[in-house]
């Protein structure tokens, strides 16, 4: 069991012939991910990485069964890529692209709300179910099939949590990088709810960071709806207010979005929090008592 994706998942790669798309799609295929087609406008009819390339998502969808679209197109075209995937009723859209204007995301989210598609990202490392499928840019070798579900706003911190849970023998059920943008697709709450229902997941790791109030909302949700143990780390206790810390969404504005407020809410909800990202694996191991 896993959440959202498994070895059966059929993947379309938008931007497959670009340098990023090509490099990462090849790595995914190597991992065993079932990439069935690619899209690059103007290159329809050709073949790349041994899969057919189409001019549009609609063209690809006309002849093939597709569950997920993985998007690698440049930021200026990313919103259109997401919109065309929504129009073609792709079930899960994973947008890796960093730097999508927030104004574009307002439009994408408005369109998404009236559809059956789920969006992950943008500005995220993607999603992986270890030993089954990798849809994104995460380094495959640190993952190990297992029992911890990971949800994270940061790429490299996800790898940190993955590495630690692999080293202590727990492994991961599925890891979801929700991304560092202020307006994005899947958020903590939806992922928490998926992991709660997933039989393979015994514990959940949440990696948050400063900015916005998603961690506070997740804390509220956990109190009422999550029975599995949750560990949380929030990056940016030492970040100064008003400064954007790398990610577009990682900024403390006024009194909102501080790490302290997030920790308070999570502690209050009974989440096990740690002020050290180096202890995530160890604490989870203790918590699951193995």
């Amino acid at each position: 069991m896993s959440v959202l994706v498994n070895k059966e998942t059929r993947i379309l790669c938008q931007g497959i012939t670009g340098s990023q798309g090509s490099f990462h799609a090849e790595q995914c295929i190597e991992y065993g991910s079932n990439i069935v087609a690619g899209v690059t406008p103007g290159k329809g009819g050709s073949t790349h990485l041994d899969v057919p390339v189409f001019n549009s998502v609609a063209e690809a969808k006309a002849g093939l069964e597709i569950d997920v679209s993985m998007i690698f197109v440049p930021a200026k075209f990313a919103a259109d890529a997401m919109k065309s995937a929504i129009e073609s009723e792709i079930g899960l859209i994973v947008c890796i692209t960093e730097g999508v204007p927030v104004q574009d995301m307002i439009e994408v989210k408005a369109m998404l709300n009236g559809s059956d598609s789920i969006l992950l990202g943008p500005n995220c490392p993607g999603i992986i179910t270890p030993e089954e499928t990798k849809i994104g840019i995460m380094p495959a070798f640190i993952h190990q099939k297992g029992s911890v579900g990971i949800i994270s706003r940061s790429g490299t911190l996800t790898y940190e949590a993955v590495h630690q849970t692999s080293m202590c023998g727990l492994g991961q059920s599925t890891c979801i990088g929700i991304g560092g943008d202020p307006i994005k697709g899947l958020n903590f709450i939806e992922c928490l709810s998926l992991f709660e229902k997933d039989q393979a997941t015994e514990g959940i790791v949440m990696v948050g960071e400063i900015g916005g109030s998603d961690e506070e909302k997740a804390a509220e949700f956990i109190k009422e709806n999550i029975s599995k143990p949750v560990i949380a780390y929030v990056a940016g206790v030492s970040a100064p207010p008003g400064k954007r810390m790398g990610h577009a969404g990682a900024i403390v504005t006024g009194n909102e979005g501080t790490a302290l407020s997030k920790y308070e809410a999570l502690n209050e909800a009974g989440v096990v929090t740690t002020d050290s990202p180096a202890l995530i694996g160890k604490i989870m191991k203790d918590l699951l008592n193995r």
Binding site: I137, P139, I142, I183
Partner: protein
């Protein structure tokens, strides 16, 4: 990207939002001739800096004669303005905006911003103007009026009217207010603004609504389609090292401490700062070298963090994924060799090609302190400068 008041008001004027007549000046002489051309009997001299709270800090001065305009301009130009929104050094004033004076019946607050929680644009309005709106929101939230735009429907006249009613604007003033809100939304969409703030919006003695101040912030990720706004960028208002880093596509933020960090990934970079603090140290910066780090980028990154004179030690924390540890190690080696760094460097490498990377550092002959994990790295870097006073 933040715009200056005079640049924001140019956009207001272009879109038909009423502003006072004004001229920009780079020197006291230009200020004088600006005042002459404005043909008024009272003027306001306003320092152009990317920070609020100018009035209380002496950055907005009234002048009752043309000579006085020139004097006030001479005082401001070339100085640094320190407001409650700047650091202790303040921001350099290289331009002043000269405006003709106006009568003021009452002051209001009005802004339009990208609201991450509502995932759309939200208007914020209040009858309390010219004040710190966050303080108003905290103390008396009932005085704050919100209207979140439905992105599928756009502006709805009913909601705009409701907002105007709650501001107690009637008849012609209500129409003026609605027209201003419409034009603000036009600017937000056309120019990819994340924030348009009018504080205060005033009503003059002729019952005309006027934007007395204007602050616009443009989405940095949208600058690829806002070419005409690129000339509005003013690097003098930003931290010098942050500008230099951003020109090299590196994400850098200057901090007050003495332990520099270089990390791949924004989250891990923040976490590294947190750990330094947790173990009793003070980070000197945030620096994300990114997923595509090359030997050259690592070298530039180290050069930039070394430009901060407060730095007493460096912590390099790399989790190699796409980035290979051997590439990073090579960059560290070359940077140390070419810049003759003689302060402690603690390196923690993990992930792709970690053995190769470690080998390069070990065989380099450099005095590098290796760390096995995140905690070890933080403890070692803090210990390396023990005894040093800040």
């Amino acid at each position: 990207m933040n715009l200056h008041e005079y640049q924001s008001k140019k956009l207001f004027l272009d879109h038909g939002i009423p502003v006072l007549k004004g001229k920009i000046a780079n020197s006291p002489d230009e200020a004088k001739s600006a005042a002459e051309k404005l043909q008024s009997d009272i003027w306001v001299v306003k320092a152009q800096v990317h920070a609020g709270g100018r009035g209380k800090a002496g950055g907005v001065k009234i002048a009752k004669s043309i000579d006085e305009v020139q004097e006030r301009a001479a005082e401001m130009l070339g100085s640094n303005l320190i407001t409650k929104q700047t650091d202790d050094l303040g921001l350099p004033v290289s331009q002043v905006y000269i405006e003709s004076g106006t009568s003021i019946q009452s002051e209001y607050y009005l802004s339009l911003l990208v609201d991450r929680t509502k995932e759309s644009w939200t208007f914020i309005a209040s009858k309390e103007g010219g004040v710190d709106i966050e303080a108003v929101a905290e103390e008396s939230p009932d005085k704050i009026i919100n209207y979140t735009i439905d992105p599928l429907k756009g502006l709805e006249i009913g909601s705009l009217k409701e907002m105007a009613d709650r501001m107690e604007f009637v008849d012609d003033i209500q129409s003026q207010f609605i027209s201003i809100t419409r034009k603000m939304f036009e600017i937000a969409k056309d120019k990819d603004a994340n924030l348009i703030e009018v504080n205060p919006l005033i009503l003059d003695d002729d019952n005309q609504l006027i934007a007395l101040d204007a602050k616009i912030s443009i989405e940095s990720n949208a600058l690829f389609r806002q070419h005409e706004l690129l000339s509005y960028k003013d690097d003098s208002q930003e931290n010098e090292l942050e500008v230099k880093a951003s020109n090299h596509d590196l994400s850098y933020v200057s901090l007050d401490g003495n332990i520099a960090c270089m990390v791949n990934g924004a989250g891990l970079a923040m976490a590294t700062m947190d750990l330094i603090k947790l173990h009793g140290g003070e980070p000197a910066n945030f620096l994300d070298v990114g997923g595509g780090a090359t030997t050259e980028r690592v070298k530039i990154a180290i050069e930039i963090i070394m430009e901060n004179p407060n730095v007493d030690a460096i912590l390099i924390n790399i989790f190699g994924g796409i980035v290979r540890c051997d590439i990073i190690a090579q960059g560290i080696y070359e940077a140390v060799k070419s810049t003759a760094i003689d302060i402690p460097i603690v390196v923690r490498l993990q992930g792709t090609n970690v053995e190769l990377g470690t080998k390069i550092l070990e065989e380099s002959g450099m005095k590098i302190i290796s760390a096995s994990d995140l905690t070890d790295a933080a403890i070692k870097v803090v210990a390396s400068i023990k005894g040093k006073t800040e």
